[in-house]
């Protein structure tokens, strides 16, 4: 049984090492946020916040308009991701289940759309929105974020749909369902994990977006959290404590969402990315 011992030890040791490596930056963010200012810049790192303080979190939250930013970020992100899911469902169903002229072209179009360099197209978008008199509104932002995540959503969902056995759908149709009904009753429930996994990506993208909102929405009423987060990095260097506190708060919803959905989401993603 020597071999089995050997075979167990190394995988476990490696896994432990990897876990620490992947977790440490996340831990360091939260722990820095909790340390008093004097412990942050320190000759010997303070590994554990022994005298934790919520001071930095208070600084972060009491920044003016914080809740406005939260509201805007949530609105824009949820709407953008929601709309892209709906639109993508329709499109990916067509791609996965139907044969039609131009299908290949459509697939490649979305693949190429995924390569769009959004950061550097900002000025073109700005000019369009400015000339359409839509600055300082959440509406254009929502639509642009929606399209930012759309290609990935379509291509991934298409894989999930393809993974659902055709026979299920067909037998439902034999039972008298119309095709849309079969889709809603049979396929959609099976797609739940896929929808979650995909929406997480959309969520991260839209939640993080900075360059576009920076110049489209200059009025605080229409700004989002990334602007708030970058506000702690002033011209004269960073308030590390507050920055880390803000980063923690910023990351928190996504971290929670991930932990919550992880189990359901993980299973499906592969079938999503691969089959089609």
């Amino acid at each position: 049984m020597k071999r089995s011992l050997f075979g167990r030890f190394w995988p476990n040791a490696t896994a432990l090492f990897l876990t620490v490596g992947f977790l440490f930056p996340v831990y360091w963010m939260f722990s820095t946020a909790l340390k008093p200012a004097g412990d942050i810049i320190s000759e010997d790192p303070v590994w554990f916040p022994l005298t934790p303080t919520l001071e930095h979190f208070r600084t972060a939250v009491s920044a003016p308009h914080f809740w406005r930013y939260v509201g805007n970020s949530v609105t824009v992100t949820v709407l953008a991701v929601g709309m892209s899911l709906v639109i993508a469902l329709l499109a990916s169903f067509a791609i996965a289940r139907m044969r039609f002229k131009g299908r290949r072209g459509v697939i490649v179009t979305f693949m190429i759309a995924q390569m769009a360099p959004w950061e550097v197209m900002v000025i073109a978008i700005y000019m369009i929105v400015r000339d359409g008199d839509m600055l300082n509104s959440l509406l254009p932002l929502t639509f642009f974020y929606m399209v930012m995540v759309l290609p990935f959503t379509i291509l991934t969902l298409r894989g999930y749909i393809a993974a659902v056995p055709k026979e299920l759908e067909e037998s439902a149709m034999v039972d008298g369902c119309s095709r849309p009904q079969a889709f809603l009753r049979i396929i959609l429930p099976l797609l739940a994990p896929g929808l979650m996994a995909t929406s997480l990506f959309g969520f991260i993208t839209a939640w993080n977006e900075f360059p576009l909102v920076l110049i489209l929405n200059k009025q605080t009423e229409a700004q989002t959290l990334p602007l708030w987060l970058s506000g702690f990095q002033t011209n004269f260097g960073d308030d590390w404590g507050a920055t880390m506190a803000a980063a923690s708060l910023f990351a928190l919803p996504i971290l929670i969402l991930f932990l919550f959905l992880q189990r359901k989401a993980v299973g499906g993603l592969t079938s999503g990315a691969v089959k089609g």
Binding site: P11, P25, V26, A124, Q262, L269
Partner: protein, 307 residues
């Protein structure tokens, strides 16, 4: 839906159906991506700087921007650097990610959950937050990394300046990018291996296949399409890794770590030469298309087979 289906309508629905379903997605893409792309293309043919933008002035200058960029050896250097950067990172990500995924499959349930927990948290960390933390970890003074290296006996590293040189800056960026991307590959690869029927391994074992043999004969064929698809995604993501590179050292030192999107941003937004920036961004897309053309061709062929 109680009426009997009318054949004529049914046929028409079959013909238009897919297009109707695709309409919203295509329309949205055309309006919110196509239109800015076209505008971007028009801007790339203009002399558009701070003054012109403020005055709403349009100064066409034909292909001057492109001429200037393509004639500038800096552009070619940055392009080459982008390619190397992408290649190195994607190889690392796919290598480490695949191994981690296979490791996940071998672990016991408790250890697997622990590692998954770590992977998922790293994966979910927003880019802005992650880059800030990494700057902080690798800070020359008071950074944890230098402190640890010093304690491990590598005293020369006590005051090492990570962002001082091209190679070490890229090292930090690479650690960050790999750290962020490995979880996606690993978790999905793990999920992929769970779909492999156990019997196949048993059969392989009966045939006397060792670990390596059963990997190449059973696992690999199963995960190959997955590897292709993920590599394609990673190439795109790494190539476009603007936020990470810019946040760590703004393309420095001495512009030596600028990759194409950063180059476009500094020329366009930073120096406020918007026309120039637009031209670089279009060239960037072309390069990315060329990079991924192999995979796109595979996809095209596959889809054709299916029909």
């Amino acid at each position: 839906m109680k009426e009997a289906p009318r054949p004529a309508k049914e046929v028409r629905r079959r013909a238009y159906g897919p297009y109707l379903l695709l309409l919203p997605a295509l329309a949205a893409t055309a309006v919110f991506l196509g239109w800015p792309m076209v505008t971007n293309g028009l801007l790339s043919l203009q002399n558009l700087n701070m003054g012109q933008l403020i005055r709403h002035a349009t100064e066409w200058n034909g292909l001057d921007n492109y001429g200037e960029i393509l004639g500038n050896e800096e552009f070619w250097r940055v392009s080459l650097r982008s390619l190397l950067f992408t290649a190195a990172n994607v190889v690392l990500i796919m290598g480490i990610g695949t191994l981690t995924g296979l490791l996940l499959a071998r672990l016991g349930p408790r250890m697997r959950l622990t590692l998954l927990f770590g992977l998922v948290l790293a994966w979910a960390m927003p880019v802005i937050a992650a880059t800030t933390v990494y700057q902080w970890l690798f800070a020359q003074r008071f950074g944890v990394v230098n402190w640890v290296l010093d304690r491990l006996g590598w005293h020369g590293m006590a005051d090492f300046n990570w962002t001082g040189g091209q190679f070490s800056t890229f090292f930090v960026i690479t650690v960050l990018v790999v750290w962020q991307s490995v979880p996606f590959v690993a978790i999905n690869l793990y999920a992929a291996t769970t779909t492999i029927p156990k019997e196949l391994y048993e059969a392989a074992a009966l045939d006397g296949a060792g670990l390596w043999k059963s990997f190449t004969s059973v696992t690999l064929p199963f995960i190959r399409p997955f590897l292709y698809a993920t590599t394609f995604l990673e190439v795109i993501w790494v190539f476009k890794a603007f936020a990470q590179v810019f946040a760590i050292n703004e393309g420095g030192p001495e512009r030596l770590t600028e990759i194409l999107p950063v180059y476009a941003f500094i020329e366009g937004m930073g120096n406020q030469h918007y026309g120039m920036g637009a031209a670089i961004s279009l060239l960037t897309i072309l390069i990315l298309l060329a990079l991924t053309s192999y995979y796109l061709r595979i996809v095209l062929r596959q889809e054709e087979d299916e029909r």
